[in-house]
Symmetry: C2
Subunit: 243 residues, 2 copies
């Protein structure tokens, strides 16, 4: 199980928790840590300030630091860290079914796009949905949907497929984050909600201070596929007491 | 607490349950009944086939019966009934704060509009958000947001306010359901997600058979304001064992 990081001052934590509750497909909440703490219950001995390959810092809705190797200098005692599910989590299941995502084959980051789909606002937080994209043939899409549907902690089944313009994407060859991938004959874009969405929320809501991961550079937990395939409430034996 | 009704064949129940989970602002799920049953745990001695003032029947995505006085003839042993929260539930709180909705003052139904905001699809179900609208002055909107925010079982805080065109509403004077209301000087439209959304899902998904209430004609439960103001898990003494 891989995760997106969003850490913001405690005074915004209630709004962010509500944003996740109102937008669970974009922001499936895996964990909310106590203020100032950085050890995830999903990974023994972890440190959210250093265990992610690259970090970003946002101030007043602007990206002021990117690709920082750690977040030690950014961390504050009043920060509340949230972990949000990531679609990288289900890619093994697509691969096992012979549906390897194009970007995996190429060794690049998944392409991500801002859309014109508004989130349900929560307190001072608002924004628009970000999606990741994987090309598939039309006759593969129902299988792709069925395979990813159970992964509710990793955005679940696709949000949209086919005409990218219908969700406000003008140029599929120019993703806003990650790397473009080529299409083969008969393929169309398949879009999943993406945990980079809170970074657009940081911008649109002009949040004073937010620490996030760099898109495509995830927090990798100890949770294995068995965990995600076990219903919540029956997972206690698998690792720690996160449930 | 008031509720929207959606009853559909058991083979579509899993998809509808997932639609609610993925779109909890539009479809806050209050109850899912066992197949063929019609007594809600939210109202002692209730009968969902007769206790709503007016019903609709949809076949293959088309509205084939409207304003039916009961649903006895429509009910089938394989139907699963879902109750979805309704924004009428929080109007008393707006009234108590001196913010009576315009349509309440006029004794009419709240105006409702189809939008261009796509839902997160679930299995064979897809559609677009429906919203209800109440006019408020710009300086009242933050109070209106704060008052309705806690009512998560009744769509919570507004989805959008201000420019109706941004969510695809072309003519605010012509609602798709309910009655138009006039605006006074300085007022702008405030939109909440609406439990009529599943009726658009029935159309867009071409569902073979769906029984719903007539918009604005709600199932009124026994749950009182005290119930909604009590956190889930601490409500058991209030009525029955719905929690």
């Amino acid at each position: 199980m891989q995760a997106n990081l969003v850490a913001l001052p405690a005074e915004e934590a209630a709004d962010f928790r509500l944003l996740c509750a109102r937008n669970p497909v974009a922001c499936p909440l895996l964990e909310e840590l106590a203020p100032g703490t950085f050890v995830s219950s999903h990974a023994a001995g972890s440190d959210l300030r250093t265990d992610i390959p690259a970090y970003r810092l946002w101030r007043d809705g602007e990206l002021v630091e990117r690709a920082a190797p750690d977040a030690i200098a950014f961390w504050r005692a009043d920060l509340v860290a949230f972990l949000i599910g990531c679609s990288y989590t289900f890619e093994w299941a697509l691969e096992e079914a012979g549906l390897q995502p194009r970007h995996v084959a190429r060794g690049s980051s998944v392409p991500m796009y801002r859309t014109n789909v508004p989130l349900a606002p929560a307190g001072r937080l608002r924004g628009h949905l970000v999606v990741s994209m994987r090309p598939y043939r039309g006759d593969e899409i129902e299988r792709v949907r069925a395979i990813t549907r159970p992964f509710v902690e990793a955005h679940g089944e696709p949000f949209h497929w086919g005409d990218a313009a219908r969700i406000g994407i003008r140029d599929i060859s120019r993703p806003d984050e990650g790397d473009a991938v080529p299409f083969e004959a008969g393929e169309e874009p398949v879009f999943w909600a993406c945990g980079v969405t809170p970074q657009v929320v940081a911008v649109e809501s002009k949040l004073p201070y937010v620490v996030t991961h760099e898109p495509g550079h995830m927090f990798v937990t100890d949770r294995r596929h068995e965990y995600l395939q076990t219903p919540p409430g029956r997972r206690r034996h698998l690792l720690g007491a996160a449930d």
